[in-house]
């Protein structure tokens, strides 16, 4: 650690910095090229390749930073609220940070290449929370808690995908796609767990 102070902040590890920039809107999906990202972090694309193996290797680290941030967000919600709040927070994360969410959930990684290059490191951050959700599902009578958790995961991602494309509204509601997706996320959680509003 260079400095023991907060005086100057910390610009952060390059993937974390890119992830934060994607989350904050300073970078967009169109910027996900080696040249653009290299310029953003102040290095040539060849340095990126050397350090991360490939653009995908770098983006995978960006995604991991995103998953860690998402886990932190969901954990803080879970500590104070129930599954419905967690579900709503997931959808809110996806809809308010679309470029980062894209890298995390929609970018097509060449998994085989990443695996053979040895750049896949560690599990997706935040899996502990899914463990908590599965435990709650089991405790509230789910006969297939892991399957229910996966349905929730798929449903929430589906809501983000539909709402971000402007297709969440089936025509019956005069409200925004964001509001529909959030309400639907809560409803989905409540379908799975009767007391979805009580603390996880």
């Amino acid at each position: 650690m260079l400095r023991n102070e907060l005086t100057d902040g910390d610009p952060g590890d390059p993937p974390a910095r890119v992830a934060a920039a994607l989350a904050g809107g300073d970078l967009g999906i169109a910027d996900l090229t080696a040249r653009q990202l290299g310029e953003f972090v102040g290095k040539t694309s060849s340095v990126l390749y050397r350090r991360y193996g490939s653009l995908d290797g770098f983006l995978h680290e960006v995604a991991q930073a995103g998953f860690l941030a998402l886990a932190g967000r969901l954990e803080s919600v879970a500590d104070a609220g129930g599954l419905a709040d967690v579900a709503a927070a997931f959808v809110d994360f996806g809809l308010t940070k679309p470029a980062l969410y894209y890298v995390m959930f929609e970018h097509r990684f060449d998994w085989d290449a990443l695996r053979s290059a040895g750049t896949l490191s560690g599990p997706m951050p935040g899996l502990e929370l899914w463990g908590r959700i599965i435990s709650r599902l089991e405790a509230t009578g789910s006969t297939a808690p892991a399957t229910d958790a996966r349905l929730l995961y798929a449903g929430l991602h589906g809501l983000v995908s539909l709402a971000s494309g402007g297709r969440a509204n089936l025509g019956e509601l005069a409200t925004s796609d964001y509001d529909i997706a959030i309400a639907s996320a809560r409803a989905l959680a409540e379908r799975l767990i009767p007391d979805a509003t009580s603390r996880l």
Partner: protein, 423 residues
């Protein structure tokens, strides 16, 4: 064990530091849009004042409102915030500590979100962090003189507000540090070209501050041991700068190191010496070298976690003050507990995410969140998970929204303001 820590220290100006533990500067980033201190500052410094440190150094205060290192910085470039500054100084002094206002100009180290055209000794762009910082333009000689006067004005104002003294931030890659470094100062005029001319900016600021303030005003300088960059400011030049500052009669020299730029580099890291690990303090070896050359009291910050480590550093004579920063964001009363013997070390704060590359971000974010809690009158939350802190890094800092919601002390300040911290 606590003997050295609890001994007072008389500075050359005659001011007395009641014990040897100092709270080093941490950027609070809770100032109002106009750069005024807020009730958050009162809450923070009330906690630290009660925490027992003998010296409190504020987070960096900008000397020019057009050049802010971060959103939420306090700015002192005239006396418009005098009442609020006075309230801040009063809050910080309630425990009997000596209180210094850290004065700073960021130079080129200004995020582009705050300035698209920062100034610097030379038009040398930040490497490795292009996305954050714009290319600076070189200052003219007249502008340099103006900035020197700005430091003097700020010092005059903080003295009137009740601060015991000021610390000039000449480290970490900010403007004074940029002048010192041959990497960022490519000038060949009165302000650059050789080591003496590169440090002239710092020396002139020290002289201007001395002229602008009374005899008893404490003047400290925070200096890099090195900026850890090829072709940059190295230990030899730093030692010579320390000698020059000693000749100027400064009261206290704080030793630090690094810059924003070198901290962000991919491949380059600061060589961490085995002796530093063993003795806790990162810059103690350099402090010993400084001590061999000058008699000015030295403060070493960075790495201290135990009373034994601080005691050893003070006993060796290498440092006269042990600086703590991050530990006091988690435990504001740590100095009092170390001094009384109720604690012998800071509580270990383990902030591992499982992905080492992200841990430095978590470190910064976790401690910043604790400062935010203290500014709202809450205790630090030591159970805050690294993941939650990491998410804090992704939450865009509201430009001034949070500060705007916090009473700014601008209209009225005083005892009533301290009664409602962080509301």
């Amino acid at each position: 064990m606590t003997h050295h820590l609890s001994t007072s220290l008389t500075l050359p100006s005659g001011a007395v530091v009641p014990n040897r533990i100092a709270k080093a500067a941490m950027s609070e980033r809770i100032g109002s849009k106009s750069g005024a201190p807020t009730t958050g500052h009162l809450a923070l410094y009330d906690a630290w004042a009660r925490g027992g440190a003998g010296l409190l150094i504020t987070g960096n205060i900008m000397v020019d409102r057009r050049a802010r290192a971060e959103t939420g910085n306090v700015v002192v470039d005239d006396d418009r915030h005098m009442d609020a500054l006075s309230a801040w100084a009063r809050a910080a002094k309630t425990g009997g500590a000596l209180v210094l206002a850290q004065l700073n100009h960021p130079g080129r180290q200004v995020p582009r979100t705050l300035s698209w055209r920062p100034v610097a000794p030379s038009a040398v762009r930040m490497r490795g962090v292009y996305g954050m910082f714009a290319r600076p333009r070189a200052l003219t000689s007249a502008e340099i003189e103006t900035i020197i006067e700005r430091f003097a004005t700020s010092a005059r104002v903080v003295e009137r507000a009740g601060f015991h003294g000021a610390q000039l931030h000449a480290a970490h890659g900010y403007l004074i540090s940029q002048f010192l470094s041959p990497h960022t100062n490519r000038r060949n005029d009165d302000w650059g070209g050789d080591a003496e001319r590169r440090r002239r900016f710092l020396v002139e600021i020290a002289r201007a501050v001395r002229r602008a303030t009374s005899d008893g005003f404490v003047l400290s300088v925070k200096l890099n041991s090195a900026d850890f960059q090829r072709g940059g400011f190295g230990e030899d030049e730093s030692l010579t700068a320390a000698e020059a500052l000693s000749r100027e009669g400064i009261d206290l020299l704080e030793i630090s190191g690094g810059t924003y730029e070198s901290a962000a580099m991919f491949e380059e890291t600061v060589p961490e010496r085995e002796s530093s690990r063993r003795r806790e303090a990162f810059f103690l070896s350099f402090a010993e070298a400084v001590r061999a050359r000058v008699s000015v009291p030295l403060m070493v910050t960075g790495g201290f976690r135990t009373a034994a480590g601080m005691h050893e550093a003070l006993s060796s004579g290498a440092a006269q003050l042990a600086g703590l920063a991050r530990p006091l964001a988690a435990e504001p009363d740590l100095p009092a507990r170390l001094l009384s013997g109720a604690a012998d070390a800071a509580r270990p704060v383990r902030l591992a995410t499982g992905r080492k590359a992200f841990d430095s971000v978590v470190q910064g974010s976790w401690h910043q969140i604790q400062l935010g809690r203290m500014a709202r009158g809450l205790d630090p939350d030591l159970s805050l998970s690294p993941r939650r802190a990491f998410f804090g890094y992704f939450t865009p800092r509201p430009r001034f929204a949070e500060a705007a919601r916090r009473p700014s002390l601008e209209a009225s300040a005083g005892p009533s303001a301290t009664a409602t911290p962080g509301s």
